[in-house]
Symmetry: C4
Subunit: 224 residues, 4 copies
């Protein structure tokens, strides 16, 4: 498979013409990513169980109240996926066409995204159960998954930034620089929150929620 790559031989795609300049390609990149993001954000609710009648001292109210970490972690992961979608949208929107490497880097970004429902459930389950070590491990796994999203997003971003031939015309260097600063800063956010969150699951949840809400605030460079 990779053998052809090594030869450096360039296969002519078309004779005397060109396929539409990648419009379709960007379209499918978006459609597939939107699909994955929409499914992940919708599957999250499946982790929240309906209490059996008679559970938790016979009152539905008590049984529901005991599930609070599931509601909070659901909301957190909803926002995390929503933010990824907003950033992905604003980033891919700069592109006129794509190439094979960018598609593979996009798949790499989708990997931690599809994993997210599992650490979400893990975090919710161990927020009020297990040993302190178990709880730290749950925080760590959620933190690593969200960090992996930020890292793979930045890998995609940097590739895109280094390939102006894929950009729409008129994407300004200034816009790229502003976003680059913001996305680079984003690399530090999840690891720091995770380090602090090792103290306790509720602290981690509160911190991550606050960060997610902050990220939803509009910034001038996202108006494209």
């Amino acid at each position: 498979m990779a053998a052809e790559e090594e030869t450096g031989r360039r296969v002519p795609v078309a004779r005397g013409g060109t396929t539409a300049p990648g419009g379709l390609s960007v379209g499918r990149l978006e459609a597939f990513s939107d699909g994955v993001l929409a499914i992940v954000i919708t599957l999250l609710i499946l982790e929240i169980r309906v209490p059996e009648p008679g559970e938790a001292r016979g009152s539905l109210g008590h049984a529901l109240a005991e599930q609070w970490p599931h509601y909070v972690s659901f909301l957190l992961s909803f926002l995390v996926v929503g933010i990824i979608w907003l950033n992905h949208h604003a980033t891919i929107n700069l592109l006129q066409r794509t190439d094979h490497r960018l598609l593979v880097l996009n798949l790499l970004l989708l990997l931690p995204v599809t994993v997210l429902p599992w650490p979400t459930d893990l975090l919710a389950t161990y927020a009020t159960e297990g040993t302190p070590a178990d709880q730290r491990l749950a925080v760590l796994i959620y933190g690593l998954t969200s960090t992996a999203m930020a890292v793979t997003f930045n890998v995609l971003w940097r590739y895109l930034r280094r390939h102006p031939e894929l950009h729409k015309p008129h994407v300004s260097d200034e816009l790229l620089a502003v976003r680059n600063q913001r996305f680079t800063l984003g690399l530090a956010v999840y690891p720091v929150a995770t380090a602090i969150g090792l103290i306790s699951v509720p602290l981690f949840l509160a911190l991550m929620l606050a960060l997610a809400l902050l990220y939803l605030l509009p910034t001038p460079d996202m108006q494209v």
Copy 2:
């Protein structure tokens, strides 16, 4: 992230040109929303269990009949999601392009939508089980979720209405006024049905179903 906002500095998006005026953006807003709505409407069936052979006096017929609240609540939530899709379609169809705030408001609308399978299962489970207090709580939670949909939809609508620069050309003030009246009225529907529905789950289900069917009737302003 939000710091740049405070400076009020406007980042130039493009030099001497423009990206396509938001066509892509509206496209992904729709694609993501359609994805979420399609998944929610399809996941609802997963809450309906196939009875174990031998359950409910050994007859499949009896076991299926005892599940009636699940069928009714499935149908209700199917229609509720369907109506949101129709209204979303008719609303986003007025737009030529979008901005960051509108994308965030759209995410806000999708939050109660993704939650819906859970109160659906809750309502179906407690329609014939639990104490009267449990049943009222199940009605209340379903009512709050559907009310949250109406409220977030109206927030999105009002933002869109106040931003004519996002509209397609020729969207008339009269059309906006007619829809505004209808969507505003819609704010009262779910709270009133929930208040009455606290009397009993079957009454709530019947009332909500009747309202949903009424909403599916065509109105002249939805022909766009």
Copy 3:
């Protein structure tokens, strides 16, 4: 909501212009329907359980062999959804734009489609379990669900046929007549198969599978 309808008042949509003639509308009708159909066809596999180690006389082979009705009913429902997708595609492809009623009729068609995973699981479970009456009931419910698909598809088709103003230019009467004949014939297929299938679940599965494979054969009128 429906009150405005009764007045017959026509709300002017646009002043002196027009929105794009429904292109977007057909696009979202397709995107939402494709989403629902893609999710249903993919959720079907979730009904097939992985046997616990040690189940069924300690051999995985035996445990898997005992699940045969699940494989057959999975394949059947996969084909049933695939056929609906092919017909939906070929039908909506004739449209240039849509209206509110057609969107509601499309929702009506998607209702039995989203239900399908449940009768699929029911049929697979009761193929080799339960009383003969239970088995006939499972066949009947699957048969009714697939018949509901054919009926709602025909309702959609007849509405579309009666509204040439929604058609693409150059859709010929002859094409409409050929398809009308085929879709009308399709109304009889599932009820007849269900009536015969009441004799036994394996007979029903075999008959339905044969019909589904027959339906996948190309016909000249589907080349559009």
Copy 4:
């Protein structure tokens, strides 16, 4: 249904005109396929269970470590679906329009794709459980499913290659020949890996993962 086929009669689709040359058709083929692929790749995580508190000697760390085959098989199937998406994208991108047969062949390809979560779970469950015969059977079923993907993909490819009237203009014979060689080679990959993998599940997982990573490397002919 198939009777009309036999007559060979050609139904005139349009009078004196033409529908848009299949752009829509290719669009829905892609949308439906993207939907199925996105859902399958996202459902895979549902097979990974969150350990009950107190399981596996009371430590979450131990319980998680014991699930290692689930993580590896998740990653493998994520990559397998990702590769199918990349190849599907690069293949359908050559098309200008589609026909009924190609849509049916595409459905045929989606069949093993939708099945994949089940052998994934089977392989993960029996990697460390069951008899050696059970483990070989799990490898065999996963291998057959992935082989079925390669075979149905090649059937689709060969049909497409033999129908230049469906191609975009300027698709070169050289491109088709290079890809044909690669896709044909792909037919051998999964059967060989499966035959070797019958020795042990971990060997099979390692081999398949290595192959999947190799497949993600860019090749010159995939730049279209």
